[in-house]
Symmetry: C2
Subunit: 263 residues, 2 copies
Amino acid sequence: MERDITPPATTLPADAPRMSRPQIAAAAIKDWVVERGMRPGDRLPGEAELMAHFGMAKGTIREALRVLEAQGLIRTRTGPGGGAFVNEVSEARARALLGNYFYFQEIGVGDIYALRHALEPVLVAQLAGTLPEERIVLLEEVMTAYETPPETIEESERQRMAELDFHALLASFSPNPLLRFQCRFLIGLLKDITICRRIYRRRIPGFRAAGRDYQSRLIQALRAGDGGAARAIMRAHMTAAQKIMEEQESVVLRQFLSETDAR
Amino acid sequence: MERDITPPATTLPADAPRMSRPQIAAAAIKDWVVERGMRPGDRLPGEAELMAHFGMAKGTIREALRVLEAQGLIRTRTGPGGGAFVNEVSEARARALLGNYFYFQEIGVGDIYALRHALEPVLVAQLAGTLPEERIVLLEEVMTAYETPPETIEESERQRMAELDFHALLASFSPNPLLRFQCRFLIGLLKDITICRRIYRRRIPGFRAAGRDYQSRLIQALRAGDGGAARAIMRAHMTAAQKIMEEQESVVLRQFLSETDAR
DNA sequence: AGATATTTGTTCGTATGTATT
DNA sequence: TAATACATACGAACAAATATC
């Protein structure tokens, strides 16, 4: 079967009215690779060949290769048999690249939870009854990280991170690459956002116990293959979590503002 | 208020065990920018200064700048007062970069619609009653593109693209950056995927009329501020569209396979 | 309009590092 | 160990773009 997606343009439409030579070279090399239907691991021509083929100097070609490398599309190795190789973009790199975009956007906790609330119930509904036992065991192992109440603030933060890991692991089991990536990206965002970090350091009575309770019931539903129940459990959990996070967001925000005002 | 998100790491964890000098420089420059809280439009030191600061040759520094440029984080201009400037990553670039990741994933029409089905009803529910009249008019203008039945296959394809534009425009009105981006990304994917292109060339009786009908009712609900109705309408439409697309996918796929078998 | 200064863009030649054989 | 093949890095020179006077 041929490729699913048409060559994703390196050349951005209105973004780049006049491209520099390295950009032209990067686009040309990319097209060249796509045309040939090259797959991850395949070797590109060496620098010398590329120089000859495109009529550009070494420096220009090297800059072009760096562009492709930054996008995660190739990797390079030195030495004999070395060179540039087609590379499958890793999930981690895709997350980092997309994170750069949202770095400049104003996103609140509510924005993230709006998507989690819409997506994660669908995720677990699809997953119910399809997970092999060893994967469910993996989930249960993550849960042991917050079996007992946290002693310190650091412990509390660690437990909250582990709770996010539970959801990330769950998402990684989805056969839908889009759903998988999107859920994991949102969770990654929660881990990175400073205001969430502050929230995770706060003590919220009953939160941990409630979290464990719903996760146990979720796993039970997943084992039983009851998609409807799994969806309902996740939906309820997301509603509750969203409410708490938004409350805490305003508390922390007020706290933060009064701190800075005092200064 | 300080930045929302912690410095997105250029340095990828396990991805890059030994970094090259340009990568080191790129990461250092990025950190330098983040530390200073520089905003889009701010100017970075010139190549000469960077060379001196990092003790690297011009070519190396330039490769580092290309890396940042490829990620959409800076843009450069020549001439006096020129140089590298912090750049807000554009939505188009973010879409292209993320598209590279999914280029290597096996995604089907069903995967995309699973997410659209989960997200777009939420989108319109949030939008209901908040859209100024001029934006609703914009939506209606897009709808004129498929007022009349298509005469040719090209016309049919154009109309289907316009119908996707309707949804993309709708999504662009969301105040939630994540929801906005995600919906628009999914729609962009539908436009790019070859199998969808094939489907869009096919004649599906009643599809256009049904689409227009639901869109009219949707706009009515949006004007009335009836979020529940808007959500229900969108949900029904997504269910129907998903069903049709998946049916057509299997038809087109069979067709394609028999064609290639014959060869 | 044109000259000039500033800054990035591109090239070439050479030397070094690194992994394979 | 040595030879080889490749990327990596440096430095100097020149070209092109663009703002300012």
